[in-house]
């Protein structure tokens, strides 16, 4: 006798997949992405592209870039100064962003603010995030005049959006018992934030801020190149788009790479030290 719990296909073979909604969603997502990718290649604009020579040339360019780096249009001191400018832009955007994000996150955390407030802040943040940073910078550049103010303000938006999300999640993980204990002593909302929420999440918040600083360094480089915000990114743009000097492009790339790897190593250390402890 056939047991009722065995599921068979039409041809009598036995099913083995759980056939859950999740599995199917995974499959359809992959199929959709694959089809869209094929379609993408059919629709691409291939104007002026000669693949063979382009690859050969790029390989040569990359070789020149990485194996023969040199500075021709400015000296090492200037290069360090420009890296400093980029780091400065990133730092300012991060620190101002962190301060604003802290207050917004208090309003976005479901356990600290009324539902309608936290919803409003979240929608607001999602819209801010949807506008690419470079557009923010360019829009501010017309409105406020080109300069470091436009760059910092433009970069601020995404820093705030990113940190509000991270901070509010951290706040929501704070133990309920702490609130109860402090409320029972008659502490008001600000007291609870200052002596309950802040101490128990501080290192966690700090790690996120550093993580954002790492990201902002990359963003600041990009803004220098695409929005004329100055710093090493602008020099990179000049070297490749204006002077066509691949050796200089190589040197600048190395400079950026070194800083980026350094920041990454530091933030990985911080993450290992503080984030797992805080999430457990």
């Amino acid at each position: 006798m056939e047991a009722a719990y065995i599921k068979r296909k039409a041809d009598g073979r036995i099913h083995i997949k759980s056939g859950s909604k999740g599995d199917q969603a995974v499959r359809w997502t992959i199929i959709t992405l694959a089809v869209l990718t094929v379609v993408a290649f059919l629709f691409f604009n291939y104007a002026g592209l000669e693949l063979g020579p382009a690859i050969k040339e790029t390989a040569y360019n990359v070789k020149v870039m990485f194996l023969e780096p040199a500075l021709n249009h400015f000296d090492l001191g200037e290069a360090i100064y420009q890296v400093g400018v980029t780091l400065g832009l990133a730092f300012l955007a991060t620190i101002i962003g962190a301060i604003i994000a802290f207050f917004l996150a208090l309003m976005a955390a479901a356990n600290l603010a009324p539902v309608w407030v936290s919803r409003t802040v979240r929608v607001f943040v999602a819209i801010i995030r949807a506008v690419p940073t470079v557009l923010w910078v360019l829009i501010f550049a017309i409105a406020a005049g080109l300069g470091s103010e436009a760059a910092v303000l433009g970069m601020l938006f995404h820093s705030i959006a990113y940190l509000v999300k991270a901070f509010s999640e951290a706040f929501e993980e704070v133990d309920k018992g702490i609130f109860e204990a402090l409320q029972s002593t008659g502490a008001n909302w600000w007291h609870i934030i200052r002596s309950g929420v802040l101490p128990s999440t501080f290192t966690y918040l700090l790690s996120w801020v550093f993580l954002r600083f790492e990201i902002n360094f990359g963003v600041a480089v990009a803004m220098g190149a695409a929005a004329g915000a100055g710093g090493i990114g602008f020099e990179l743009f000049m070297a490749s788009g204006f002077y066509f000097d691949l050796r200089e492009v190589g040197f600048i790339t190395y400079a950026i790479l070194i800083i980026a790897v350094l920041l990454e190593v530091l933030s990985t250390r911080l993450k290992k030290r503080y984030l797992p402890a805080a999430s457990n």
Binding site: A3, I6, I16, S18, G22
Partner: protein, 254 residues
């Protein structure tokens, strides 16, 4: 005739500390043997030397007339199909269905290509259902493994070992993560597997009483050495102290 013979087995990761020292024992086909000892005595390491999940440094292991230590990669794979393994944390793939996890036990018999295509024969699937029914979890066959309780997951783990048609099953702390009721179910199943199917069982255990209740023979391990080997009835106060107690004495004197 012995199915498994261990001679002078030794294992060390660093030159100065030996995890296993000069281990000798022999296990007959169909025997149910428990290995007991405190944490860190080397129970898990020893068990994993049997199918070379851990490479040993000294001595010899003979399984089914084969020198385990001298096998090449392909022969080792073949050897492993004959040895089932059950883990403390079940080691299932949580997202896959119960039946898929059971069928994973058949890969040792397949070429890489067959495995990649995921082809199982209908007999294999029927067999998988037969085993699930035997362990009483057939109605969960199409559930994802992470939806099952610990005891149920361990039964899936046992099915995965059984579908290999093994001669020997190695169980590494099979009930250490389970509540008393589930533990009893699991141990009963293991015992009946050895009695009805004649499969040899080598089980790492924490609890002395469980070992005494279920096994034909007990091996006591302390600090990488065998300090007891015999029937559970002969395991008295003094022997238990020898297996578990040395450590506390060392702590006091040191």
């Amino acid at each position: 005739m012995s199915l498994l013979k261990v001679e002078g087995l030794g294992k060390s990761y660093t030159a100065d500390k030996k995890i296993l020292k000069n281990i000798d024992f022999e296990i007959k086909a169909g025997e149910f043997v428990s290995i007991i000892g405190p944490s860190g005595a080397g129970k898990s390491t020893m068990l994993r030397c049997m199918n070379r999940m851990i490479e040993f440094n000294e001595g010899k292991i003979i399984f089914n007339n084969q020198d385990v230590g001298s096998l090449n990669k392909k022969e080792l794979r073949k050897l492993r199909t004959n040895i089932g393994m059950v883990f403390q944390h079940y080691n299932l793939v949580p997202r896959l269905s119960v039946i898929e996890n059971v069928l994973h036990g058949r890969y040792g018999y397949k070429t890489t290509l067959q495995g990649l295509l995921g082809r199982y024969t209908e007999e294999e699937k029927e067999r998988a259902f037969y085993l699930l029914e035997k362990l009483g979890i057939h109605e969960h066959a199409y559930k994802r493994c992470d939806q099952l309780s610990g005891g149920q997951q361990q039964r899936v783990g046992i099915c995965r070992a059984l579908i290999q048609e093994p001669k020997l099953i190695l169980c590494d702390e099979p009930i250490a993560s389970l509540d008393p009721n589930s533990s009893k179910v699991i141990m009963d199943h293991l015992k009946s597997i050895s009695l009805e199917m004649g499969i040899t069982c080598l089980v790492n255990l924490h609890q002395v009483e469980v070992a005494q209740h279920y096994s034909d023979r007990i091996i006591g391990l302390n600090n990488g050495e065998i300090v007891f080997d015999g029937n559970g009835r002969n395991l008295g106060e003094e022997q238990i102290h020898k297996i578990y107690g040395t450590k506390s004495r060392e702590l006091i004197t040191a």
